[in-house]
Symmetry: C2
Subunit: 399 residues, 2 copies
Amino acid sequence: MGRNVAVVGVGHSRYGVRSDVNIGELAWESIKKALEDANLEQKDIEYFIVSSVGGWSSEYLPAVVIGEYSGLTPKGTARVEAACASGSAAVKLAYEMVSSGTVDIAMAVGLEKMNESPTPVVVEFIGRAGNYFWEFHNFGLTFPGYYALYATAYMDKYGATEEDFCKVAVKNHYYGARNPKAHFQREVTIEKCMTSRYIAWPLKLYDCSPITDGSSAVILASEEVAKKLTDSPVWIEAVGEASDTANLSKRDDFTYLRAARLAAEKAYKKAGLMDGYNMYKYFDVAEVHDCFTIAEVLAYEDLRFAEPGKGIELVRNEETYIGGKIPVNLSGGLKAKGHPIGATGVGMVAELTNQLLQRVEKDRQAPIKNGRALAHNVGGTGHYAYVTILSLSKPNGGV
Amino acid sequence: MGRNVAVVGVGHSRYGVRSDVNIGELAWESIKKALEDANLEQKDIEYFIVSSVGGWSSEYLPAVVIGEYSGLTPKGTARVEAACASGSAAVKLAYEMVSSGTVDIAMAVGLEKMNESPTPVVVEFIGRAGNYFWEFHNFGLTFPGYYALYATAYMDKYGATEEDFCKVAVKNHYYGARNPKAHFQREVTIEKCMTSRYIAWPLKLYDCSPITDGSSAVILASEEVAKKLTDSPVWIEAVGEASDTANLSKRDDFTYLRAARLAAEKAYKKAGLMDGYNMYKYFDVAEVHDCFTIAEVLAYEDLRFAEPGKGIELVRNEETYIGGKIPVNLSGGLKAKGHPIGATGVGMVAELTNQLLQRVEKDRQAPIKNGRALAHNVGGTGHYAYVTILSLSKPNGGV
């Protein structure tokens, strides 16, 4: 199979409302850090893949625009989009280029500057990433509405409460408050979440991830090159990916995301991991796609960290805090770190690399024992899913 | 290096104004043919990459929408965009996935349904793929304007005439008239081209490629799998790619495209080909990015089929017709076959595969002697370039 591929450098901009920078400057914040982290220069990057949904402004070719600003021109490039899973798709495709032997060093850069559009326009625009012509156009379903359907189905089937979901927000804000890169660096209480206004019942303001600007970058290298660059490579052990129907009306069940389940199965199989619903045992830390609090609960179950219907107990029992079964979203997650769409998946890999290397802020650092971390990134309302497994141990002969 | 990768199936919709189909149906036209050509079913495709710029309608996730319509769900997918070179980027990334060993069979699907927007909107939208905030916004430069700058620079430096450029249109319409998949299936005369109205002096209506709907698909497979599927694999021998500044104002010279030159150099180097300005000798046929007639002339030179300033002589001496030094755009090219942006690069590979296998219409079939063909695909005004070399001979141990 292909060559082993390591993460040799990561960068992460401050997420937030970034009206202080243009897209070139925003991208450079993370690209510069990733280059410094890898001890590389722009000329060393042989190909760069840019994940960005775009459409927030009239700037239309982010790949070349940020490439030029960051001094990556004339290297080959393309933009990759898989809705909110774009970043993971970019990391995967950069991985393939190194694994195949086409290049020794590739970069994935994710970025979004969503606040260039007014909020209602952004919400409408994202709404189209559901099924446009039927569900969005005819029923006016936007993303809080879609995820409210999941939340009500889950509440009905498993007896979860609004307060349960708020506990996810409390956890993610707790860690976001400890992450200087996070959009929201403040804690929230259950009361504050419970009394926040409804966006789409049962989801309230604090159940929803914000509209965020930000960028993130990871540099991948072949085993041979990684050895020269660093004593602490973080290996990409496996990537699993899947798609699903664009029509929610065709889903058989609203209490799981089929694409996420399949993506996890594929990644676990590639990495040779199997242990029923105790998959959390293999990982020290995970970043999951908590675009809404319900989504984090579904993620626990789709990743088989818990049996169907039992994910909510991980929340109730605080098992996804540091010290619990599996710390999740110690970055603050989409909920508090923010969700600059194209940057999100790349940012997960950057965060988990830092976690595995034990170089994040002390009060949000997971204990590293297994040396393995997982990123779970969903596009649309489960249209796409990518699961990426990172490891401190070298895989055997590629994924 | 990576595994060898072969094209094992291709499909190509009729290009044109396709108000008769929606995007799912349009994509299926080429996907169905590619599957039949490869004797495969949807379940055999392990990952599919969709190249589409989109934005012509409110449908926003072409990858999952066409995947679902074509029965490719739940396979992993992402959309790739490199402006007008999107199709070549998709083929390249599908290539990487097979070459790395991650999958044995991948598909690249290109599609665009541009006529869902009114023509002025399309022209404005494409104009943003130049440098938006400076050149488009301040000077109103749209693509005919950009390429008119190249044409006038070339005329000034090398003494080319408007009539010379029209000869490119005459050739490409000549072959388009023989291609039942082409948007324009009729010949034009020099007189008709010369008397057509100016779009941006010196470029006239017949110097410009049309706004086209269409789809194309190619299926790639590893050597082992390709052997089982077909007796006539067409190998991807090399891909070269590069980017350039988004600002025309920063280009040092308007008589060549730096990204295209670099992409060609990279591809030639990988394939071990070198012969000064006689590179045409290695190829039986080429498809080049003739978005405007001047662009085809620049392509001859950037590909080193001719010295700088001598490309126009290939046109004058009809050396790019069948029987000449190197037949170019026997499909009709972007000019007559049409330019459904995301489909274009994938369609070039489909066309060249058919040419190498000698299965296109007799009166536009190139004689196959070297067993090698080249696709040249440019994005923006030279922002991106991809050069893909196909061969009937198996590469030595991957690219």
